[in-house]
């Protein structure tokens, strides 16, 4: 019986059309925000249309008996619930997708039964949840457009809802004494104040809300996350098993041609993602955004490891790959002997999710050493160096996640691990072709007197940083011969590949196992999205050095790039303002670096800003001091909060007197007008009000509540006196 009554009950019908329209707009915007994601594109039009139809239907059926609507909606809810369960059972790794679809359908069905204000509020609440879902799926700043639109309509809906609630609150409760006393007064709905009060309030409020939101965002603490979730990987874009045993680089599909044949430069892809790396290639990579990374730590994303120096470049000499299959995620990666030694130290768990924007080679980019993979594929191939290949290239829209164990040791730790490397490391990573003796001599000269392996590595590092210049405009190698020798002694400037090759060769020359690796720099953090944006120009080469008892440790040989010791920190800082400041600083530095004139402007601006800051501080201090002195001396001219009310009272007094034929001439002072009134009639209240106005206007006196009260009493008395 109770259930039947509940089924028939619909609450007090809400007849405010603006409130319904703003709520509908909020729901539709949230649906558009969610369906902007690839996985929900098919719902982009159908759901908003159905939601709008539902709101119209609900308005039409408002106040009628709708038990049959509720029954149909309940049955449809069961149906979408069943669809959700089927979706979860079909793909337990992507529960968020069927869950979002369930939310979309529930929102749609609910739209057909929103008779009361509380139902509209519920719709608004679920639209907030949909916006949260949209934000979780969103990768770029486009979401902010949806959020701005949502804020606009959401604030309008809330303000209209508050107005309706306020009007309800002004109605007496049934049976209350005041109801017995008589009807209540509410504002006239047609009053201009009301129109200002609702629409203007909402618009005015939106600006305030957005400003406060910006402040709240900047000061919201961000802690390390990615701990309680199944990591994302694309559900609908699966990798095809096209693997033919080689690296497929979309920018260099011809790779694998005859040895010695020089590839043609492609600015849209890095030449270092292949089985060979040719140091004779010249060119600049463009700045296309190739991937976004959501990670707990800021690290280089390693792709490939090269072990053999050929004199003109590098190659991966061991083509053998171990195939790892799995039917459920994650895939656990078993590394081979060269990498296992790295697990001797206490690592940091680093979680990374990669969102591909531009097609990439079939290489898994990740911070070494990858342990677990969440891939849109049940198969991955691992070489002896810990690099991983995929069955197909990484197409745009592909998402994969990696959990790595990373060890970034400090200098003291590395100095302590000064032992001999095992023979299988020595055999592979000390090998060099015949190189000019001056290269070896330079390496010995640079490392002479250094007590530990680490110090010798740092010595080479410092030598390269201080004696050579990073330059992307180097001409082709003008003579045949060893590429490292040409870089070190002839050109003395070059790309990161030249620096990394030189460091690796010099270290091997003095008996330190080293290898060249390629991949991407961490990228630039977008403080809004919290994602690292990796561009084509972030493709990079660096060096890994073997330390006995620790394993492979990264070093940055190229000047101007962050030292690897500075990496490993949180990808996002605790406070957004820190990231914003860092971003601005980086942009300004890049601008200054790009142009000497810009550097001068920035330096001048800095000096001006410092001077300006001092001027502002001095002026502010002066103003504060002056304010204090005036306050102490009683010279403050603060008219007091009641001054406008006093002026209003005087205006009313003049209006009353005007109706009695006593007009204040424009030239009349307050005193003059008072004297004229005194001469014409016995109205002592005019004296009271005039004296108060004069004291406030010319006597520097603050008008307080008592003054205002006496003026109001005088005005009241004057009104009665004039009526008589």
């Amino acid at each position: 019986m109770v259930s039947w009554r509940r089924l028939q009950a619909s609450g007090t019908p809400e007849r405010s059309v603006p409130l319904r329209l703003w709520t509908l707009a909020a729901v539709v915007v949230s649906v558009f925000a969610v369906t902007a994601h690839d996985d929900f594109l098919e719902y982009r039009l159908t759901i908003p249309i159905l939601v709008a139809a539902g709101f119209a239907f609900s308005y039409w059926r408002m106040g009628k008996r709708n038990w049959w609507v509720k029954v149909i909606l309940a049955l449809l809810c069961l149906q979408v619930g069943w669809q959700f369960l089927r979706g979860v059972m079909a793909d337990p790794f992507h529960t968020s997708i069927p869950l979002t679809i369930l939310l979309l359908w529930l929102q749609t069905l609910h739209s057909f039964d929103v008779p009361a204000r509380r139902d509209l509020l519920f719709s608004l609440l679920t639209s907030v949840i949909l916006m949260a879902v949209a934000a979780a799926f969103a990768l770029d700043m486009t979401f902010l457009l949806y959020l701005a639109a949502y804020a606009l309509v959401g604030v309008q809906a809330l303000v209209h809802n508050t107005w309706q609630a306020t009007q309800e609150a002004a109605q007496p409760a049934p049976g209350s004494p005041s109801r017995a006393a008589g009807p209540e007064q509410t504002a006239d709905p047609a009053a201009p104040a009301l129109r200002r009060g609702v629409l203007w309030t909402a618009n005015h409020l939106l600006v305030t809300v957005l400003l406060v939101a910006a402040v709240v965002f900047v000061f919201t603490p961000r802690f390390e996350g990615l701990r309680l979730t199944a990591l994302p990987f694309s559900a609908q874009r699966m990798l095809l098993d096209l693997f033919a045993g080689r690296i497929m680089n979309p920018a260099y599909p011809q790779e694998g041609g005859a040895e010695g044949e020089l590839l043609r430069w492609n600015p849209r892809g890095y030449f270092g993602f292949g089985t060979t790396l040719d140091l004779r290639l010249r060119g600049r990579l463009d700045h296309t955004l190739v991937m976004r990374v959501r990670a707990t730590h800021e690290l280089n994303w390693r792709g490939l490891v090269f072990d053999t120096y050929t004199g003109t470049g590098w190659k991966i000499s061991d083509p053998q790959l171990a195939q790892i299959d799995g039917t459920t995620m994650p895939l656990s990666i078993v590394h081979r002997r060269d990498e296992v030694l790295s697990f001797g130290a206490r690592p940091t768990r680093v979680v990374q999710s990669f969102y591909i924007d531009v097609e990439q080679p079939n290489v898994v980019f990740a911070a070494p050493i990858a342990e677990r993979l969440y891939l849109p594929s049940g198969r991955v191939y691992v070489d002896r160096y810990g690099s991983m290949r995929l069955p197909d290239t990484l197409k745009p829209g592909i998402v994969y996640s990696v959990i790595s164990r990373v060890f970034v040791p400090d200098a003291e730790t590395l100095r302590r691990h000064n032992g001999e490397p095992p023979p299988f490391i020595v055999e592979r990573y000390l090998a060099l072709p015949k190189i000019p003796s001056r290269v070896r001599a330079l390496a010995e000269e640079v490392t002479a007197g250094q007590p530990t392996v680490y110090d010798r590595v740092r010595a080479v590092n410092r030598h390269l940083w201080t004696s050579y210049r990073y330059d992307l405009n180097i001409p082709p190698q003008r003579r045949r011969g060893d590429a490292v020798d040409y870089f070190l002694f002839d050109e003395r400037r070059g790309y990161c590949e030249q620096f990394a090759s030189a460091m690796t060769v010099m270290l091997r020359a003095v008996g330190i196992p080293a290898r060249l690796v390629t991949g991407y720099l961490p990228g630039t953090l977008n403080p809004i999205t919290g994602m690292l944006e990796v561009r084509n120009s972030d493709a990079h080469a660096w060096v890994e050095v073997f330390f006995a008892g620790i394993g492979w440790v990264e070093f940055e040989p190229t000047p101007g790039f962050p030292d690897t010791e500075s990496l490993g920190g949180p990808a996002v800082r605790r406070w957004v303002w820190q990231d914003l400041a860092a971003l601005v600083q980086a942009r300004v530095a890049a601008w200054a670096e790009a142009s000497p004139r810009a550097a001068q402007v920035i330096a001048a601006a800095g000096r001006t800003a410092r001077t300006g800051l001092w001027v502002i501080l001095v002026l502010a201090a002066g103003a504060l001091a002056a304010g204090g002195v005036r306050r102490v001396a009683g010279l403050r001219t603060d008219p007091g909060p009641a001054r406008p009310a006093l002026d209003e009272a005087y205006r009313q007094m003049c209006a009353m007197l005007l109706r009695r034929g006593l007009r204040r001439r424009p030239a009349d002072t307050v005193s003059e007008f008072r004297r004229r009134v005194d001469a014409a009639a016995d109205l002592p209240e005019v004296g009271v009000i005039s004296e108060a106005v004069e004291a406030a206007a010319y006597g520097g006196r603050t008008v307080d509540a008592d003054d205002l009260q006496s003026v109001r009493q005088a005005l009241h008395g004057l009104r009665h006196r004039l009526r008589r």
Binding site: V128, L147, T229, V572
Partner: protein
């Protein structure tokens, strides 16, 4: 205090924060900031206007049961305010009004209309100002005591014509006086006053006294009646209210007819009031606190005044010289046919 909607939004914001932290999603942090900003702004727009609002009241000193009372409140705040609900009045009669918008530092007047249902002397309660802010996520309420009081007079009803003959014994004196006035019988003499006609001078008496005296042909107003209200302490306040309304109605009728009418009663002590305001003020505040009217009837007899007793109790006197008005619904005191009764709203009618 956050409203139910505000609490829900805070919980959602907390959940979004946890989700944003776990997913490390900057855009979720942006959404969370927006939600928190809504709550912060909602709290500000609710609390600030109410906290610093100044209110002054302009209300009448007297009104009557069933008549509209307009209480004008002037609101002013340094920060303005939106969507305020203002409540004012006194015990049993409080009214509310909505103020959509107050501009900062500009006074805004709002009229609260209440219809008092019961006579009495009331102290105004505090003015209650409440706001849910601009977005309804926070509510703030403040009570501002302003003092002041109001007297609610009892409701009066016109006495329908069928009941007038039953009041004739009280009104007859008035009729006789009228006839006397028309006949211009000599009533007596008095001292001469400037303006008196010389033809009215009574020379014989003037000679006897040594000062001018004039003849008076009209008797001074002798039409007089007392409406005696039974304040028997055993009756309920509600029954007394009806009796008070009936007494006020008869008092108003007699006054309109030009009688020298007084309203009287014996509560803690004997009370008698003749002026309109005094009588109505007394009737507004009178309470059942005295002996049965039959015991005090003697104290009000005589003086040439007709006596009309309004009694709600069963002890109404059965005196042929006294006009007694009793409740229409009182079975115990049902008057004989041809008597006068009053209804709960104070209407006096023939039984």
């Amino acid at each position: 205090m956050p409203t139910r909607e505000g609490t829900t939004l805070l919980l959602v914001a907390a959940a979004v924060f946890l989700l944003a932290t776990n997913l490390m999603s900057g855009l979720l942090f942006v959404l969370d900031a927006l939600l928190v900003a809504l709550v912060v702004v909602g709290a500000g727009t609710a609390v600030v206007p109410v906290r610093w609002l100044r209110v002054t009241r302009d209300a009448p000193a007297r009104s009557r049961e069933g008549e509209l009372v307009e209480v004008t409140l002037t609101l002013e705040g340094p920060r303005g305010g939106r969507f305020l609900v203002v409540e004012d009045g006194w015990e049993g009669a409080r009214g509310r009004a909505v103020v959509p918008h107050i501009e900062r530092r500009r006074p805004a007047a709002v009229v609260i209309r209440v219809i008092p249902s019961r006579r009495g002397r009331y102290a105004f309660g505090p003015v209650a100002v409440a706001s849910r802010g601009a977005v309804g996520l926070f509510s703030a309420r403040r009570q501002i005591a302003l003092g002041g009081q109001i007297i609610i007079w009892p409701r009066t009803r016109p006495v329908p014509p069928p009941a007038l003959p039953l009041l004739a014994p009280a009104l007859d004196a008035a009729g006789a006086a009228q006839r006397t006035r028309q006949a211009e019988d000599l009533y007596g003499v008095r001292d001469y006053q400037p303006g008196d006609a010389a033809s009215r001078i009574h020379w014989r008496s003037s000679a006897r006294r040594g000062a001018l005296v004039v003849r008076e042909f009209e008797r001074p107003v002798t039409r007089a009646a007392t409406v005696l209200l039974d304040l028997d302490r055993r009756q309920s306040p509600e029954r007394l209210d009806a009796a008070v309304r009936a007494a006020a109605s008869v008092f108003a009728l007699a006054r309109d007819r030009g009688l020298d009418v007084a309203v009287a009663g014996w509560g803690e002590a004997r009370s008698e009031h003749r002026s309109w305001e005094d009588a109505m003020d007394w009737l507004a505040g009178v309470a059942p606190s005295g002996p049965p009217v039959a015991e005090v009837l003697g104290a009000f007899r005589g003086g040439g005044r007709a006596l009309i007793v309004v009694s709600s109790g069963a002890t109404a006197p059965r005196d042929p010289e006294v006009i007694v008005i009793t409740p229409a619904d009182d079975a115990a005191g049902t008057p004989a046919a041809g008597g006068l009764v009053y209804t709960a709203d104070g209407t006096v009618q023939a039984w």
